[in-house]
């Protein structure tokens, strides 16, 4: 069972309270992008064995979208952070580094 702490309301939300939103920080291609680039933007997603940055919505709680850094192998959650960023914040990256160093 996955538990993520919503960065907006601070509650430890069970997976069943959340709705997954796929890979985070996907940058829209275009408007001048060629078809291959746009297809990649639409359909190609990372599927890492390890740390994955992903979007979640606290759909049965405060209703807000947020980001989470989760390890797909160990299910360790390195942290959650608000959705209004285009890349993972430094403290999340630090937490990942720290977990790797152990």
């Amino acid at each position: 069972m996955l538990i993520l702490t919503c960065p907006y309301c601070g509650t430890a939300a069970d997976e069943t309270e959340l709705h997954p939103g796929g890979e985070a920080h996907v940058v829209r291609a275009g408007p001048e992008a060629d078809e291959d680039t746009f297809e990649a933007y639409l359909f190609q997603r990372a599927n890492p064995r390890g740390v994955h940055f992903e979007r979640w919505r606290h759909s049965h709680g405060c209703g807000k979208w947020f980001h989470a850094a989760r390890d797909t192998l160990t299910m360790q959650v390195h942290g959650t952070y608000p959705a209004q960023v285009t890349e993972p914040p430094q403290d999340i990256l630090d937490a990942i580094e720290e977990a790797r160093a152990r």
Binding site: Y8, C9, G10, T11, A12, A13, D14, T16, E17, H60, G61, C62, G63, K64
Partner: protein, 198 residues
């Protein structure tokens, strides 16, 4: 054409009560007004009109008659008497004129329940239905928690009288009634919260 205004409002599960581990009651018609907008902008006007404090994150404030609940970073729910909801919503909308805000009387779109009994039993009934942490330290009085009740969305809090209040969408009121009364069925004690007996 169906004209809602020409029919008297009927509450969900009118007058229903159930006695089991706890007493479950359909709370009847309850005024509920959704307030949406930046809390910095709408907080003061709402506090002025209602006389209630603006709740902190996950908080609910009340004066015994009305209550103001945090719903999300940009949403609050005002609970009041059903009869005054329409007028109150209009006066709130007036005081928020010019702000980027939304005031809607959602009284008829929600259903409310009241559960009363020993606190450890109330928490036990709730814990059977929701993944939320309902231990006293995680759900103290004065806190509202939005979560799910089995398959549907709901919100719950402990009021000043020590009763457990539950709200859900009216369209699933029958389902939530069945959940609550099922979880409170005599003989289904789990005694998980026996240490919080007070």
């Amino acid at each position: 054409m169906f004209d809602a205004t020409s029919h008297p409002a009927r509450p969900a599960l009118e007058g229903a009560t159930f006695d089991g581990l706890v007493r479950v009651e359909a709370a009847g018609l309850t005024g509920m007004i959704t307030l949406r907008g930046d809390v910095d902008a709408i907080g003061m006007p709402v506090a002025d009109v209602t006389g209630l404090d603006v709740p902190d994150t996950l908080g609910i404030t009340g004066d015994g008659v009305r209550a103001l609940a945090w719903m999300s970073p940009d949403e609050m729910m005002l609970f009041c008497d059903y009869a005054e909801a329409e007028e109150l919503a209009a006066s709130l909308a007036g005081s928020l004129e010019g702000e980027h805000a939304l005031v809607v009387n959602v009284s008829d779109a929600r259903a409310a329940f009241r559960l009363s009994g020993p606190e450890h039993r109330l928490r036990e009934v709730l814990a059977k239905l929701t993944p939320a942490d309902v231990r006293p330290e995680a759900l103290p009085p004065g806190m509202i928690r939005r979560s799910r009740l089995a398959q549907v969305a709901g919100a719950f809090w402990l009021d000043d009288a020590g009763d457990l209040r539950v709200i859900c969408f009216r369209s699933v009121a029958d389902y939530v009634w069945a959940l609550l009364t099922g979880a409170a069925r005599p003989g289904s004690e789990v005694d998980h919260f026996r240490d919080v007996r007070m």
